[in-house]
Structure formats: C-alpha cells, structure tokens
C-alpha cells in the first residue's frame, strides 16, 4: 500500500481578540488507497483539516505544516497556479449541503463540464458527452434533462449526486468528502454513499471521509482518526472501533442511542481537561505497511 498523501504537523490558527486560537493542532496522518474517516464533534477541526489539504483556509486563518505531500510534491511549496492544477485535478472535495455548494444561477451541465474542460482541455462537445456519461455513472436517470436544469430544481439527494459527478469528472486521485450526507434523509443517505463508494473503489482513489457520525464512518471506512479539540486522540481500524481505548471515543460511542440495545439512561461523556494537553496521536501509516 503506497501513500498518496502525507500530512505532517498540520496546524490551523485563527487570530482572535484574546490571542491565537488553534483550531487544528499539529496533526499528522497519511492516506493510501483507502477510505480514511475523520470523526469529531463540531469544533473539533475536522472540516478545517479537509480544507487545509486543499489550501483553502480563508484569511485571517493561518495554515502551517511541516509538509503536505501529494505524490512526492509538497503542496505548501508550490505556486498558487500549480495548486489550482492540484485542486480538482488531483484532489476534489464534496461538501455538506448541495443547496449551498452548487452555483444557483448556473446550469448544472455547465457547472460539471467547467472543471473537465479546464483540466482535460477538452472541447465543449467532448465535455458535454463526458458530463452526460458522468451523470449516468451517478445513476441519474435523465442526464439530458438534468444537464439543462438549475440546482434549485433538484432534490438534496440528486444535488449530492451531481456534486459527486462534478468532483469526479477530472478523475482525481483523492476525494475529500466533508459530511456529504448529513444534510440528506436517511433513506437517501445510503444511496448516495453507495454511489460514492462504488466510484471511489472502481477508480482506486483515496477517500477522506469527514463526519460527525461514528456509525456511518465505522460502516463505510477502512481506518478512522478521532479528532478532539483540534488533535487526533486516537486512530484505529474502522471495523474495530468498538475496541477503541481512548475515553473520549468510548464516551462518544456510548452516548449514541441504539435501536437494538435499549438503555434507560444514555451514558454522558465526561470531558477531561487533560485531553487538551495530550500530544496528538500520529495517523501516519508508513509506505508498504498495513494499518494495524
């Protein structure tokens, strides 16, 4: 297993009135051709981690890292122009709510083909054909009609399929999915996740799956990083999540009500201030090594 991406000592900081706030604190991890889950509660820094990889931290936020290496190039050292080649072409991202993440005044077809035309330098006609193909791959029944439609005419599930099509059309190596289904209904969630999963596997891509939902992540990923207050407190194989050792992870797991295992009272997570001081656990898996 070779690593597509390696992140070393990543921090994201925001200056505030009361000094600097560190939203992500010195985290390191790697991504192979695998599905890596990043789990945490709101404010744990999971979304910022995703955006930091694409160097999309808005001012006045500060992004620092020893390196973020994609196939041997340090993304922090390349020019803005080169970074744009990386975005979309090598790394893509799907965001939470298609209602906001699609441009409301542009036709869906134009939005999807735009990226392809840019990265593949394809003609308008080729791009159109490719776009329609891609829409079909995300199981949209009437691609021609959807191509001409505007985002507001689509349901949430359709919108998210369109996002997937749009982000996968330039054939990137890595897909970052930032809470891709938390704005969707449960029955639709499954469909969308399956479509995404199939396409990612088929293309041998690396997937970073960011979510607050431990259930989804454990079902859907190979390996999980658990973030707390900007740091990785634990990393483990997704199917062994129930064997997690850190009190935070255990507390999180136990606080979820379960249909099959009724309890009178849910366990409440007792936060320990010591967690804030622990060093971040490394999520790096060395090349060639299989995750334990």
């Amino acid at each position: 297993m070779s690593n597509l991406l390696e992140v070393q000592n990543l921090s994201v900081k925001f200056p505030t009135r009361n000094g600097i706030f560190e939203a992500v604190r010195n985290i390191s991890f790697s991504l192979g051709r695998e599905r890596l889950g990043i789990v945490g509660e709101s404010g744990s820094g999971k979304s910022l981690t995703g955006r930091a990889i694409l160097r999309l931290i808005k001012k006045p936020g500060i992004l620092e890292a020893d390196h973020i290496t994609l196939e041997g190039t340090n993304l922090l050292q390349i020019s803005k122009k080169a970074m744009r080649r990386v975005r979309g072409h090598k790394i893509s991202m799907i965001m939470q709510d298609p209602k906001f993440s699609l441009n409301p005044v542009m036709r869906i077809g134009d939005q999807i083909s735009e990226a392809y035309r840019l990265h593949a330098r394809a003609s308008k006609k080729d791009a159109r054909k490719k776009t329609l193909d891609m829409l079909e791959k995300v199981l949209i029944r009437d691609p021609e009609r959807v191509f001409r439609s505007y985002p507001h005419e689509m349901s949430g599930g359709m919108g998210q399929r369109i996002m997937i099509a749009m982000m996968l059309i330039p054939d990137p190596k890595i897909l970052i999915a930032d809470e891709p289904t938390s704005a969707l209904d449960v029955t639709v969630q499954k469909e969308v996740l399956e479509i995404m999963d199939d396409l990612v596997r088929e293309r041998g891509m690396g997937l970073i799956f960011i979510s607050h939902d431990l259930n989804v992540v454990s079902a859907f990923c190979d390996r999980v990083l658990i973030l707390y207050a900007g740091r990785i407190v634990e990393t483990c194989r997704a199917d062994r999540l129930h064997e997690a050792k850190h009190p935070y992870t255990i507390g999180l797991l136990n606080s979820i009500p379960r249909l099959e295992q009724p309890v009178e009272h849910l366990q409440v997570l007792q936060r320990d201030t010591a967690w804030n001081l622990e060093p971040s656990v490394s999520g790096v898996v060395a090349d060639g090594e299989t995750p334990s």
């Binding site: 744009r84 975005r87 979309g88 991202m93 993440s101 699609l102 441009n103 409301p104 507001h152």
Partner: protein
C-alpha cells in the same frame, strides 16, 4: 431540514398558465401604483394656494367670466369625478397648458425629456462601467488600500451636495481652466443647427454626421454627466462590494475553487453571476436617482431638461407644468421598477 414544510404533494387545478398570471399581476400592480401616484399629484394640485381660474382669466375678469372658466375647468364637479377627468386627460397625454410657455405641457415635456435622459444615461453608463469593477475589486481585496480608497470615494460621493460641487466644477474647469464647455448643451451658435431626431444631441449629431457638434456636445456634457456618474459610481460600487462579499462567503465559491478554477473565473463568472441578479435593481434605482438628481444638476448647468423645466415652472407658479413634470418623472420611476423586476426574473432562474 430546518422545517418540515417541504411541500410534496401538489394538487393543482390549472386554470391559467403561470406566466399569464404573472403578467396580469404585474399589470395590476403597476396600474394601482400609477393611479395612486396620480392621485397624490392630483391632491397636491388641489390644495395649491394658487387659484387656477384666476391665473387663466386674470385678476380683473368679471364674475361671469370667472364662473364660466370655473365650470370649464370642471371645478364645480365632485372631487372624485374631477380626479377621473384628470386621469382621462392624462391617459390622453393631456397635461393642460403651461402658463410659462403657453404650449401644451405634454409637448414641452416631450421636448425637454430627451435632454435629461441623455444626461442620466451617460452618467449611469459611466457609473456602471467604473462602479461595478471598483466594487468587485474592493470586495475581493477587502481591507486593502484599494478597498479603503473605494470606501472614501463612495463616502465623499454620498456626502457632496451636487449643486455645490457643480458650481465649484464650473468655476474651476470652465471659469479658470477653460477646459470644458460652459452651461447648456451646446455652445450658443451650434444650438438648433442639426435636425432633432431622438432629441439627444450626442446621437443626433452622429446621425447628422457632424463631428464638430458632437465634440462640442461632449465638452458640455462631460462635467454634469461626470458628476452624476460619480454619484452613481459611489452607490453602485458600495452595493456591488456588499453583494460580492456576501457571495464570496457562499459554499459554491469554495466548490468553484475546489474545481481548480482560476481566481478570475471564480470571481467574475461565479460570484458576479450571482451578484448581477440584485445588481440589476440597484442600477435601476441609481438610474432613477440620476433622473431625479437632474433637478439640481440641470439648474446649475442650465441644462434644458425636465429638472430645469420643473424648477422654472415652480418658481413662476406654473402648476400644470409642475404636475405634468412630476407625473412623467413618477411614470419613469414606475417603468424602471417594472423593467428591473423583469430583468431580475430573467437573470435569476429561481424566480421563474
């Protein structure tokens, strides 16, 4: 998922196509607004301290002449009937006769309106061409020196009395430097030398192929139009900036960046594409503002447009002319509103 109101089952008895309803709605709204506007104008005309009969028949007229004129004007009829007669007349383009020019007010308005239109249009075009890019750049480079400059430029624009800065401008550029033509639309010996087709000299002179007159007209319009443009620029650039900032914060902008699009495409295609929807309304408002601002500007520059017409009429108590002018400016306002509504619907797919 905020509320559960997503509506799923639509039971529709379609009687009329939606667009027919839309248009008939618009027409109805416009009609109501127009009638209301005319009503207010009518009331203003009625509460005037000036006796319209006296101003026609003169101070020394006999009682009989006075009464005859009184009835002729329909003043003996009930107020609301008078209002309908007033509406009827206006619907036929009859605004009565001007005391000052002794011509029908309608004809006067047709004569003076193009001058105002020309001034405001040139002003708006310059204002949009400079204001939109300035606003966009200020938003993109928020907090930079260019943003501050744009802010100061706009604040000064908001704060400057147009009649004063016009005077100062005339003093400096015409009186001292002599760079531009003075008051009026043309130098005096060019006036009425070309046939009036559109009433807008810049266009008429080009139609007549007379470059000399065109240049002269430019030298006259440059200062007043430049001033109006400045006001329009101040407003449009601020609004553009604010809309842009709002859009640049949206998620779809991140999507566009994730796709690897160059910043220029992200800004000018994606963000501005969304900004142009509300911007249409702003530009229409600004245009209307310039038409109105012409009242003062035209006074300063002796520009023979509707603004000068109204003020001159006002100072000589020529009520028909004042009311006619007010109605026409009001009409133009209403039309601009409708036009911007239609454009809005055209630009925003969600509004259809």
């Amino acid at each position: 998922m905020a509320t559960d109101n997503t509506l799923h089952k639509k039971r529709r008895k379609r009687s009329l196509p939606l667009w027919v309803k839309g248009i008939s709605n618009t027409v109805f709204t416009v009609a109501i607004t127009m009638v209301g506007l005319l009503f207010v104008t009518f009331i203003i005309g009625r509460v005037m301290p000036i006796d319209p009969v006296l101003s026609i028949v003169g101070e020394s007229a006999s009682r009989a002449t006075y009464d005859a004129a009184y009835q002729e004007l329909g003043l003996d009829k009930p107020l609301f009937l008078q209002f309908f007669l007033f509406l009827w007349d206006i619907a036929h383009g009859d605004f009565g006769e001007s005391l000052l020019t002794a011509r029908p007010v309608g004809q006067d308005l047709i004569r003076v309106f193009p001058a105002t239109l020309e001034l405001a249009t040139v002003g708006t075009i310059i204002g949009v061409l400079l204001g939109v890019p300035l606003g966009v750049i200020a938003a993109v480079k928020r907090g930079s020196w260019i943003d501050h400059v744009a802010r100061v430029v706009a604040l000064i624009g908001y704060s400057m009395p147009v009649f004063w800065i016009g005077l100062i401008g005339l003093l400096i550029f015409y009186g001292i430097l002599g760079w531009i033509g003075g008051p009026g639309r043309l130098d005096i010996f060019y006036v009425d030398t070309i046939p009036s087709v559109t009433g807008m000299i810049l266009i008429d002179s080009l139609l007549a192929g007379d470059i000399e007159i065109f240049k002269n007209a430019i030298s006259h319009i440059v200062l007043p139009a430049g001033l109006l443009a400045y006001y329009s620029l101040a407003y449009i650039s601020r609004m553009t900036r604010s809309f842009m900032l709002e859009q640049l914060d949206q998620e779809y902008i991140i999507t566009a960046r994730v796709k690897g699009l160059p910043e220029s495409t992200v800004i000018w295609r994606h963000a501005l594409g969304n900004v142009k929807v509300p911007l249409v309304t702003v530009i229409a408002l600004s245009y209307a503002g310039l038409l109105e601002g012409s009242v003062l500007t035209e006074t300063i520059f002796a520009w023979p447009g509707i603004g000068s017409y109204i003020t001159t009429a006002l100072l000589s108590a020529d009520m028909n002319a004042v009311l006619g002018g007010t109605v026409v400016v009001g009409l133009v306002f209403v039309c601009l509103n409708i036009f911007s509504d239609l454009l809005y619907k055209y630009f925003d797919p969600r509004a259809k």
